[in-house]
């Protein structure tokens, strides 16, 4: 199993969809509002080799209480500028659209963290800063130090997309079972 440490580089290019990895280092949370703000005002952290985490945590008194992944597909149309700026990995749940699969090619990967596993994630994270705090708890960009996050490569840098493979199989099974198509 490969262990990744931030800032990330070309090592992400060798990963394949379905691989299991762990990741340590600095990651930045961002949901819909944060993406829109960064597109307008610029990225508040150094994006080169950075990891963006689709997450809206529960924070209490500067402590990360729970911090599982949110649905990444909401960010499908908002992701290109991050990859262009040098972001090397996205962490989230549920996978992303074909435009993001294309944007990741040769540059970055999408890593799946088990949805709902907010206590497991927070137990491997420490809060170290925040940008855009005025966007509120769920939408702010939180700076997190991660320690051995357990992840599955959902989309690799070669167009491999485990979610799409599974979706295509599901479609075939559906049409077979219900005699459609």
């Amino acid at each position: 199993m490969m262990h990744l440490a931030t800032p990330l580089g070309d090592e992400v290019l060798s990963l394949r969809a379905g691989d299991q990895v762990t990741l340590s280092g600095t990651i930045y949370t961002a949901r819909d509002e944060a993406h829109l703000r960064m597109m307008e005002e610029g990225i508040p952290f150094d994006p080169r080799g950075a990891v963006v985490y689709h997450c809206g945590p529960v924070v209490q008194e500067s402590r990360l209480v729970v911090a599982g992944p949110t649905t990444s597909a909401r960010m499908n149309a908002l992701t290109g500028f991050l990859i262009d700026a040098g972001v090397r990995a996205l962490i989230g749940k549920g996978g992303m659209g074909p435009e993001v699969v294309r944007q990741l090619r040769g540059r970055a990967v999408y890593l799946a963290l088990t949805g709902g596993c907010a206590a497991l994630a927070a137990a491997r994270m420490n809060l170290s800063g925040v940008y855009f705090e005025e966007l509120g708890m769920a939408e702010a960009v939180w700076v997190i130090e991660a320690d051995h996050l357990p992840l599955t490569v959902g989309i690799d840098a070669h167009g491999g997309d485990l979610f799409e493979t599974v979706r295509e199989k599901a479609k075939t099974q559906f049409h077979k079972r219900f005699n459609t198509r």
């Binding site: 809206g56 599982g68 649905t71 949805g115 907010a118 769920a138 959902g154 559906f174």
Partner: protein
């Protein structure tokens, strides 16, 4: 609003019970739900899926150890009350539940998720217009049941006004709901299915079906569950045998010209808890 002293006592008791029920539901999964996840993990054949189910079981144990919510999407509060015959339906009942939600938001803590639907302005305390969603039914005892509902799975829910001749199409409609949803609602899921009634009743039944114990399924529920699992979507949409952990169905009679079918999707964290209000 004038509140009678006796009412204020009732209101306070309901606030306490609501806060306790939310804490229980957010931190610890019901035993039938946990057993369903463990059974699935024991028989899953796909390696990635086994790993995902392992993470889920580890997360459940950690949440209980650390006394923190299972998921950071602590949901919106959906509340079911039973009122015994000697307790009338009064505003103080709703005020009590609302106060309990406010307190739980600060004490557990819960993520403030409730916003204006159009301006998206956050109310800050998980209450708002028609929030919490409160459903009242007569009963023997005064009880508060909470079902905090996350958005990932709620957003994958669907209602169809089928034709009366399409009863045999119901399994297709249910499976299609998960085909469209894929990994987005955090499978493995529980599906609440409401069949019959009116447009609104079918949706309400689908949600109520999520309150039913998941340790047994009748033949029809098993057929629906098998149809979903045949898709192979697996935990988090990464593939595998386990897409639905259970399907529960509630029915109502309906108009001779209608067949409403609602599917309420619930992620693996089927959080629910009931507290009896001591008076």
């Amino acid at each position: 609003m004038m509140v009678h002293p006796a009412d204020s006592k009732l209101s306070c008791a309901l606030a306490n019970a609501t806060e306790r029920a939310l804490a229980e539901a957010e931190i610890r999964l019901p035993t039938d739900v946990l057993a369903a996840i463990r059974r699935a993990a024991a028989v899953e054949r796909n390696e990635v899926a086994r790993r995902e189910l392992g993470h889920i079981l580890e997360n459940i144990a950690l949440a209980e150890d650390l006394q923190v919510p299972i998921c950071q999407d602590t949901g919106v509060p959906v509340v079911y009350l039973t009122l015994p015959p000697d307790i009338g339906l009064s505003p103080s009942i709703f005020l009590g539940v609302r106060e309990g939600v406010r307190r739980a938001t600060a004490t557990i803590p819960l993520r403030p998720n409730v916003v204006d639907p159009v301006t998206r302005e956050n109310t800050g305390d998980n209450t708002g217009a028609e929030m919490p969603a409160v459903h009242v039914a007569p009963g023997d005892r005064l009880t508060v049941t909470v079902l905090p509902k996350g958005a990932g799975s709620e957003n994958a829910s669907r209602i169809g006004m089928l034709l009366p001749s399409q009863a045999a199409e119901i399994p297709r409609f249910v499976a299609e709901t998960m085909l469209i949803a894929g990994g987005r609602p955090c499978p493995p899921v529980f599906l609440g299915v409401g069949i019959g009634g009116t447009f609104d009743v079918a949706a309400a039944l689908a949600k109520e079906a999520l309150l039913l114990p998941v340790d047994t399924m009748d033949d029809y529920e098993q057929e629906l569950c098998d149809a979903v699992n045949a898709l192979g979507i697996g935990p988090m949409g990464l593939g595998g045998d386990t897409t639905a952990l259970a399907v529960k169905v509630k029915r109502a009679d309906c108009h001779t010209a209608s067949l409403p079918v609602a599917v309420n999707v619930q992620c693996w964290a089927c959080r629910r808890a009931t507290v009896e209000v001591k008076r």
